[in-house]
Amino acid sequence: MADVTITVDGKKITAPAGTLLIEVCKTAGIEIPAFCYYPGLSLQAACRMCVVRQEKVPKLQTACTTQIAEGQVFFTDTPEVVQARKATLQLLLGNHPLDCPVCDAGGECELQDMTFKYGAADSFYAEPKNHREEQKWSPVVYFDRPRCILCYRCVRVCGEGMDVFALAVENRGSSSIIVPNVPAQLAPDNLAQLDCEQCGMCIDICPVGALTSGTYRYKTRPWEMNHVATVCTHCGDGCKTTLGVRSTSDGSQIVRGDNRDKSGINGDFLCNKGRYAFDFANNSERITQPLVRQPNGELKPVSWEEALTYVGTKFAELLNTHGGRSFGVIGGNRLTNEEAYLLQKFARSVLHTNNIDHHRTADYAAFAQSLAGTAGRGASLRDTLIAKAVLLVGGDPTNQNPATAWNLRSNVRHNGARLYIANITEIKLRRQARAFLHVAEYGYGALAEYLAGDDSTSSSVTPDSAALASFRDALRSEESLLILIGNELRGAELKRLIDFGLTIPGAKFALLADYANSRGAADMGLLPDLLPGYTHIGPIDTADPASRIALEYHSPTSPGLDLLEIFDAATVGNLSALYVAGANPVARYDVDPATLKNTFIVVQDMFLTETAVLADVVLPAANLYEKSGCVSNSYGDLQQVKKAADRAGVRSDFEMIVRIADKMGADVRKLVPFGPGSNSEGISADMGQTRGAESGEADRHAVWLTANNLEPRLSPFDPSAMLDEIQRLVPGYKLLRLQLLSGNDQHLSPAAVPIRDDAGLVQISNRRDLVLPANDTLFTSGSLTRYSASLNDLQQNQLRQPIIQIDNKTVVD
């Protein structure tokens, strides 16, 4: 709309006509307080805090609902306005308990801030306050009724934002109350309950302490924690989460996960896993000492030095006697990019084997190769919030990629985005879809062919050929399309769908995976047949830039064994050693423990998993919240991981790999190019030597570097040294260091480098499909599930009370 000029407090402001006054003022740096107003949600005008005086209008106006027009004159800070706000606060405080000293929100409470600002602590209301007991609505959501100021934010975010509608207001006037969707009379224990996705958005958005989190309440105060913004470890969306961390006797513990950093890739959103399921780290079963199997079969705690020496010696010995081909290396989906890269480099250059794989949760190899030679076709998670048209084939974002689902819902709500969904089940997102196509089982391949123009496959997609035809017509009429693909589509099927998408000029693609760094693990080359950046393994050609990595590694020129072949090799006695970093293949792929009897197994993990109990050496690992580095989400958005928590005794996978290499007698400087004179493109840290530092100076300098998110690249355990090499060698990882270190996301498309010849095509059809998605639900997160008390509580809660309400509502026409 056309710009208009208004006057606020004597200041001329120009903004598009129809913009809300409260937003105009915010942009102009004029603060207007509000409880009920929340950007992105419908307007409520319930709290009356944002009142302003408008010239020639008899009554005070609410800035949150006033749309500006030419020539309007407003006053936001007159004594009249201040008095009105003060009176509003006094009314709000009429029943609000002044229990700030014990309230969770104390210190970060909007009502508290406003009360201080307007000096409304003295009240004219002498009547006793209405007290009500707190209610437990679910294992994670608690409600303190008297603290509620009825701003309706929770009601709106649950309905509009989450499409769950589990909260509402009942009664009226001073007896109004927020209620959950299972009333006391229907609940098994006669206590009102929430039957919902337990995302905790209502807690996050509550301006006061009325809604509090079961995992955090009464544990600490906001100012007693350090707040570290890092990336959630759970699903492949890679949400930014702010972890509240507090010191304990053996490190520092995460006490809260929330979303204070609304600038992150996930905007306002965080799901239940990001918010509560950090507690696996505090599980009592966590191992904090290296364990080495003794001749009597027992695992005995030993020192790090002893364990690593043992691993190094044994690896070197087996490498000498049996060769690299007898080694198997398996990495995890929650390693950082630096660790994943280092692990495969260690396997290829130190162990001289390509027998390396990871638990694949989506076929990124096929994805990357289908997009080979294209540019700008990879979608960012941010695209899901702005794309005009979105096609979702397969997947179930609501359960498996909640931030994607949130963004799609927001996009439909705010921008009227056209969402097209094809799925074999009636996923919840269909409620936002312009068209939902119910695909027959195993019908995705046929769908891809049909979309590409092959009408003969119609009957394999769905019996409803008319719906199918109009679905395709709608897609064809889109000039740009964001295509989100579930991990059910792999190999040739995936390629067919992408080939169809590539015919739409503005189409972008994303493949949805399961964990924080599933994408990174594949990008970094935890694959037997592909080097980092999906670089083909083959004869080395010094003229071909694609051989650059292999040339530096001196790695074998033929593909290695994949994950299943590694265990097949063990079965026939050809696997002398198995090195597992952050994975549990024995449980995941149902491996018979007996086959591993004669294999020397080293496992790096937090817990004694099914794989770890078989190991000869178990090394206690730090989790993603306890280390730094970077990860790539499903979309290829690269983000920085910052060390938040700490646990005495554990080490990062990075450090362990380097130390094992060192104990094997490998040149660590070659593995991790650290220190001055390294061939890194980044600048090595000046630790003070150039200034003739005296003792202690270097330490202080290191503190400064850390404080500025710079890491001294003097240590062999320094991930940023590895990142230099990733940046230098891995196709598509031309990242912006400043962007990364500022805590911002950046989109990378490691698929953009064409593979020599048509090797890519051949590979896709020949490649074994080893993708085994975790099929996580809202309340599971792969192998971490069983160690997270909050996820278990939520599962139990859900069993007691199956989700009946949130998915039975059809779209209102």
Partner: protein, 166 residues
């Protein structure tokens, strides 16, 4: 539209509801009329009523409860067979509305929003029922009684009790 196969309402009311959802541009506009008609037929808005109405209007049960709890004339517990509503708004108050209310309380042995043990009478203190000219007034179910005195109230209540025994 969600179809309701086993309605808890009489066939006439169910048929009426089938039509009612079609007459508004927005289906949920039929919510309040439906609640009122259901209350008249069932006696109160029961859990089953909430669920059926939600289903008919494609709403969540919670949406129905939210509206239901806003209006004091909608009730979620059974009232007596004769629901006595005594007005105590200004005209009635000036002409002895509270005496009438107190008399009812004594006579029936119940308080505001309560029901007699035999389920015959329930009592409510209500706001203006639009009979100010002949205050004080009360309403029993849908029948008006005005220019009340305690004696007259006794006669009226006796009459209802007798009617029931017939």
């Amino acid at each position: 539209m969600s179809t309701v196969t086993k309605s808890i309402f009489t066939p006439e009311l169910a048929a009426y509801f089938d039509r009612l959802v079609t007459v508004y541009p927005l289906k949920r506009s039929a919510l309040i009329p439906m609640l009122l008609y259901s209350q008249d037929e069932v006696g109160y808005v029961s859990e089953a009523v909430i669920q059926e109405i939600a289903k008919r209007l494609d709403l969540f049960d919670l949406d129905v409860r939210s509206v239901l709890s806003y209006y004091s004339m909608l009730r979620t517990k059974p009232a007596g067979k004769y629901n006595v509503q005594v007005c105590t708004n200004i005209s009635c108050m000036l002409r002895g509305g509270y005496e009438i209310l107190d008399h009812c309380k004594r006579r029936l042995g119940i308080e505001h929003k309560q029901t007699t043990a035999d389920g015959m009478f329930s009592l409510e203190e209500v706001e203006c029922i639009g009979d100010c000219c002949s205050a004080p007034a009360m309403q029993v179910n849908y029948e008006f009684h005005d220019e009340l005195t305690p004696q007259k109230v006794d006669e009226i209540l006796d009459e209802y009790a007798a009617e029931d025994r017939k």
